[in-house]
Symmetry: D4
Subunit: 223 residues, 8 copies
Amino acid sequence: GFAKIDLHRAQRQGFPEVIFGQGKTKEQITKIISSLIFHNEVILVTRVDEMKAKYILQHYPNLEYHQTAQLISTPLKDIPQSKYYVSVLCAGTSDLPIAEEAALTAEIMGVSVKRFYDVGVSGIHRLLSNIHDIRRGKVSIVIAGMEGALASVVGGLVNHPVYAVPTSVGYGANLNGVTTLLSMINSCAPGTSVLNINNGFGGGYNAAQIIHMLENKESEVSL
Amino acid sequence: GFAKIDLHRAQRQGFPEVIFGQGKTKEQITKIISSLIFHNEVILVTRVDEMKAKYILQHYPNLEYHQTAQLISTPLKDIPQSKYYVSVLCAGTSDLPIAEEAALTAEIMGVSVKRFYDVGVSGIHRLLSNIHDIRRGKVSIVIAGMEGALASVVGGLVNHPVYAVPTSVGYGANLNGVTTLLSMINSCAPGTSVLNINNGFGGGYNAAQIIHMLENKESEVSL
Amino acid sequence: GFAKIDLHRAQRQGFPEVIFGQGKTKEQITKIISSLIFHNEVILVTRVDEMKAKYILQHYPNLEYHQTAQLISTPLKDIPQSKYYVSVLCAGTSDLPIAEEAALTAEIMGVSVKRFYDVGVSGIHRLLSNIHDIRRGKVSIVIAGMEGALASVVGGLVNHPVYAVPTSVGYGANLNGVTTLLSMINSCAPGTSVLNINNGFGGGYNAAQIIHMLENKESEVSL
Amino acid sequence: GFAKIDLHRAQRQGFPEVIFGQGKTKEQITKIISSLIFHNEVILVTRVDEMKAKYILQHYPNLEYHQTAQLISTPLKDIPQSKYYVSVLCAGTSDLPIAEEAALTAEIMGVSVKRFYDVGVSGIHRLLSNIHDIRRGKVSIVIAGMEGALASVVGGLVNHPVYAVPTSVGYGANLNGVTTLLSMINSCAPGTSVLNINNGFGGGYNAAQIIHMLENKESEVSL
Amino acid sequence: GFAKIDLHRAQRQGFPEVIFGQGKTKEQITKIISSLIFHNEVILVTRVDEMKAKYILQHYPNLEYHQTAQLISTPLKDIPQSKYYVSVLCAGTSDLPIAEEAALTAEIMGVSVKRFYDVGVSGIHRLLSNIHDIRRGKVSIVIAGMEGALASVVGGLVNHPVYAVPTSVGYGANLNGVTTLLSMINSCAPGTSVLNINNGFGGGYNAAQIIHMLENKESEVSL
Amino acid sequence: GFAKIDLHRAQRQGFPEVIFGQGKTKEQITKIISSLIFHNEVILVTRVDEMKAKYILQHYPNLEYHQTAQLISTPLKDIPQSKYYVSVLCAGTSDLPIAEEAALTAEIMGVSVKRFYDVGVSGIHRLLSNIHDIRRGKVSIVIAGMEGALASVVGGLVNHPVYAVPTSVGYGANLNGVTTLLSMINSCAPGTSVLNINNGFGGGYNAAQIIHMLENKESEVSL
Amino acid sequence: GFAKIDLHRAQRQGFPEVIFGQGKTKEQITKIISSLIFHNEVILVTRVDEMKAKYILQHYPNLEYHQTAQLISTPLKDIPQSKYYVSVLCAGTSDLPIAEEAALTAEIMGVSVKRFYDVGVSGIHRLLSNIHDIRRGKVSIVIAGMEGALASVVGGLVNHPVYAVPTSVGYGANLNGVTTLLSMINSCAPGTSVLNINNGFGGGYNAAQIIHMLENKESEVSL
Amino acid sequence: GFAKIDLHRAQRQGFPEVIFGQGKTKEQITKIISSLIFHNEVILVTRVDEMKAKYILQHYPNLEYHQTAQLISTPLKDIPQSKYYVSVLCAGTSDLPIAEEAALTAEIMGVSVKRFYDVGVSGIHRLLSNIHDIRRGKVSIVIAGMEGALASVVGGLVNHPVYAVPTSVGYGANLNGVTTLLSMINSCAPGTSVLNINNGFGGGYNAAQIIHMLENKESEVSL
Ligand SMILES: Nc1ncnc2c1ncn2[C@@H]1O[C@H](COP(=O)(O)O)[C@@H](O)[C@H]1O
Ligand SMILES: Nc1ncnc2c1ncn2[C@@H]1O[C@H](COP(=O)(O)O)[C@@H](O)[C@H]1O
Ligand SMILES: Nc1ncnc2c1ncn2[C@@H]1O[C@H](COP(=O)(O)O)[C@@H](O)[C@H]1O
Ligand SMILES: Nc1ncnc2c1ncn2[C@@H]1O[C@H](COP(=O)(O)O)[C@@H](O)[C@H]1O
Ligand SMILES: [Mg+2]
Ligand SMILES: [Mg+2]
Ligand SMILES: [Mg+2]
Ligand SMILES: [Mg+2]
Ligand SMILES: [Mg+2]
Ligand SMILES: [Mg+2]
Ligand SMILES: [Mg+2]
Ligand SMILES: [Mg+2]
């Protein structure tokens, strides 16, 4: 009774309901998974710490746990080979968990990803030397903390949609990512839109949706 | 000397530099227009009040002023007939100027738009009775003030990208749109990303970019 | 000496003093309970974690602990059968503790409750398919986190008072529920008023007060 | 085309759509009025300054303008004589416009109102000497600016629902009423819920809805 | 070398330097105490948790630890019998630690205190029945959390200076006492001034300073 | 009917009700003055701009308008010669209106004032060369904008109560005085308490109250 | 009496007192100028609008008004030819007034300036093509609004001190420059420090001070 | 793959990449160190707690751990003897860790430092008695929490650049240092610029950069 799983979401939105693991007990998550599996849905659970993951995988050993990204999913058999790819960028090492949440979400949705990590603007040559490949992707996801300047710089260099994901990486006046979020929302580069702080999942989901449309398939998953 | 116009932006980003009219004098705007026209660029100026518009159109009578949207542009010869369209929704009458800024931006970029205005959630039947047509678009732009709930409701009903544009319509604890922005950034519906307060232009630009990609043309403008 | 219990509150306000357990030691709570029991008052303690509850129930084994809701109360003998009922809605699984705090508060005050859980707007059919029964209640309590859109949607669909209770469910720009609170305060639907973040008790108390008035009894409790 | 008036709201919510005048042009308001009149609806327009009111009344001389409250309405023929009344309190002289917005909204909805103005807590005898009559009402609306302490004091003295309406009366750290709002949301008195800053209309609407329920009539208007 | 103790403060300010214990290690505190004792100063250390207190009292067993107030001091031999007293009020049980910090600070500075605890405005009779004695004091310190309304009510009832000390007691939109602080700063009652959140020490210090002046002694301490 | 003047305030609080002129019409102010005069009260109106003052003085030519301070009062016959004086300090030229509001309030309440203006900390010799006279006063009122550092510096140099009044003088991150207020509330100097932004009146009132107590007269006014 | 001009500041700080014109009347400014001129000081007044400037220049026709920068100064005879120069960058056309405030402040203090205007990151080639000359300066002042990303990018490309000056250019979630300020304070590039919003003067002053030290002259002015 | 170390930063910026230890695992830090050592770079890691330090020093026993400052570095062989020194000031004992972070950063960069600790403004004689030596330095770093007044006072007394570093020392309305930051940004003393909360490293880095320039060496390190 505690959860009304949204079983026709795959139909309505092109992908089954994704479980937000944070704030749910391991038992609640397991129960929701069991119900989704019963209906043959693809499984994706975000924000699962190792402790919970262990418990869940004991019950569903066929699922896969991606530790950096804190995701549980139906295992990714092959890395997807979609026609177009998503460029996933992050500014620094500490942004990795969110970057991986974004990248894996897209991959689980059947979409190819190219990763460009630790390319923050304080050493802009690292970005510029990769810009050709970043541009060849059809969507960019830019993950950064602190002042989030990477989003604006990338936004000015590509001609495809940019999803900016602020992270809570920083301290003091970073205000747990609120400063990064506000900064990105004010980006002077057109073609950029913003997700919630640390919402790598949202970036990956949006990007995959665009690639799906470009490939004329609206809800296929490649696992 | 006061402005370095970004003349190869059309090449780099698929659309020439758009002039942000607010905070510039009418003389500055006119000078930038003259330089863009000299380089044969399409003109788009946002946030131009009537006073400034009058002055500018005296110098460039071939340009067109869209009063509700507060835009000046190379005139829209025919309403664009792109293969796919963008659904532009707004919650209430007072959101109209931003909705028109979004819709016209997309149209000036050569993209078809279907408008769904005054469909806010306090009378949700107005939205539901239009949902079929909204869904048939390839991107939605949702413009709302106050608590911005429309973005989440639409986000849960369509399977294409949703651009949420918070407006400053409201009073008191609306905090000039900051509440609406925060609310939309927290949307529980996947597939939604957010622009700055009153940034109708950003919504239109992003949406048009996606339609361009779907139609395999990356920078054509339909005027 | 440390507490002046407000013993004629039942007379003045229709219900005895309710103890806010958070921030009080288990010994302080036990002492206040003993004094209320001495005066034959109904007991209701909110925000009691399991640790404290165990201690208190060792001293007062006749009391009842509701774990999800984190409440201790004089035991609810029968589920109350009032003439009118309160509709208690929540958006997602993580809102359950607050929803139960609201529902049980009303029940302990002798008022019938119908629960509508996990009916958030990202899958609005779950709400719409229950709307007839929600409307038949005389008051609604809407409990939601994140952007809190559910309050506005419900507010537009019922013709009775709606109490909106923001929860701290969410992350990042949710700001521990402050965004949800601001969002609900800006609701575009008339007939909605707002309680503090996670104040399920307040929602239940207000709702019960209205049902009491409708049934012409101002302070009866049904335990 | 610019507005989809919500014509079955009276049915759905017990009262026809009320027009929020602020941010609408006088022409827009007049057009919406004409459409409502065509459908025989009661008219209520809030936040209308004198300038706009003059224009509107030239077109609809049968309507009435309440200057302090900044309301236009179908004229109040007789002061309503409902079985129960609403107590409307305000803390100081500067809160009057919002207090009148609340009181007149209730009266236009057919509900009796007793006014208790300038009874702020800095001279609490003014409140205490009226408390008997305040209590005899079935709902209280408490309108206050600055620190909004009146809401808590009243909340502790009555046993019926209290609607707290913060106003933007104050200066400095009052932050245009945000402090008052936050203060009221934290009220230590149970039975209090809160409206947006300066939302006298919301207070009146909620209160009238409760009186309607108590009198078993759900949408009658007494003009 | 790490601390320059302000040894002529007693001369300059009427009372020796008080040690702020929070954020200092137990060793640092002990070292500062030893230096003050060497100079024959009265000792007062605030914000000392039990763990630290134990360590310090092992080194200085002549000092006294006040657990609720989290203070260490030169022992209070007799309760001071000053000609005038300070009224210390608090709203609820959870405000006790701060109330005691205030009261004991004044007492250690040689000033009589009368305590009025748990007299919050939600049951205002508890305050009114004590008002005569509160008024007879020469200064009031009002300690409250949540919406802090008690400060305004007291401020309107006495004709001596009121020091309002906001506490972090509350939750949600209380914002850890920031709401209470803003509320008190906006008090509509003249004669009230405000201290930092939980700064009971500051309230006690200010009050004692006034009593000292009234008794024509500027720095005597009564231990 | 619109105002319940608090006529026994002089008795209860030692000084008659002071009228806060801001947000009241000139007619409302005049009416309240007439009622106070009828009861033989001393008149003090704060925040009166020149326009309103002119109107009011036409009706009550015996009253006096202090332009810098924006006050109307019963005329100050002689500068008061109380036994003790209040030191009023301000940091810069732009703080003058608030400094004068404070100083004149105290003088109208019969208390001597010594003014120390433009003594901000960026040129600290201006303060230090006056410190002897500042210290000889029995209370200090420190008025400053920007970062408000003057309050802490003075607080560390005197052994009497300091009332810190933040002003809205500053720009950018000063946030209209909120930064100054927060800064002063965090003052590291004991013996300091804080008033609302620009509340010179509050500073003067508090200070005068203390001087009254020192002189054993609790409500005399010296006009 | 209203101002204590800090006449030995030139000695103490290397440059005479600069007058902050905003919030002062034209008469006050004129009086302060006259006093400084009497003491043979160099004049610099910031934030002077045209209206005030006209009045002041009627009295002191030898002074010079810089309209874009809103400065009045002792006239700049020759553009200073210091050994080292300051690089002044701004992101967009609307940042010009602040950029000129910075540049002219430095020049009036005798320091050479190279201007790099409209080089914001949305078209980063404009910056990169100038980077050699920017680097050759000994200090950079980076003036930008919106998300302020330019400061971080420049900070990562130069090996001299960078002063970041946020401007209030932007809208919505820019919060009048607060977002830009927070963003710059969080810059991921070492070697960057931040001034108040729109404080071009502060940037110029700091930069000039460094150049002075490099040239071994600590307070010379080059007019 | 997880980190792209910025190896030509020493060349571009005058000092090799400094590792921000917070938020990185001990293994990640060790890997980055190994790569920098491989390229013969000087090592500086900030924000390393004891636990991590122990692990890292087991792998690189030649490195040095500075506990108060929480830094790991190539060992400081001799205290640097540069021609000019930096004055490092802090207000209180609790600011020490940040003060040491600043001082050691400068020393590791080969620059002499003079420490002036616990010289906060609440006892201003402690500052004034050291002012001659503070002034003789070429740059000041002022580290303070609470209201941060020390920065303004120092700023007004020296004629060299002042870097203000706010700390999170304080409580309540200090808001974890945000108040201190805002206060310092509003400093009324020219010649002051601000770093992020607790960013001692930034202060030290900036100061060392200036000393390097004064000594005509741009990237030498003195270990
Ligand atoms: N990491 C995430 N961030 C934001 N939304 C998420 C995340 N993971 C899942 N969701 C969304 O959260 C909703 C599920 O919420 P719940 O019913 O509480 O499990 C679904 O609509 C998901 O699309
Ligand atoms: N003063 C007011 N404050 C808040 N809501 C209002 C007010 N006046 C009207 N409304 C509501 O605003 C809605 C109409 O908005 P609109 O369509 O913009 O005219 C209706 O649902 C009213 O119930
Ligand atoms: N609980 C407290 N709250 C505020 N200030 C305090 C407190 N305890 C001590 N102080 C003040 O803090 C200063 C000592 O700070 P410190 O040098 O860090 O020990 C003294 O000036 C005291 O007057
Ligand atoms: N535009 C400005 N921004 C910040 N500070 C300024 C500005 N112009 C002048 N100042 C400083 O403000 C102080 C003068 O303030 P005042 O005494 O109010 O004129 C001087 O210390 C100047 O250094
Ligand atoms: Mg890196
Ligand atoms: Mg509408
Ligand atoms: Mg769900
Ligand atoms: Mg009054
Ligand atoms: Mg109690
Ligand atoms: Mg000055
Ligand atoms: Mg430009
Ligand atoms: Mg100290």
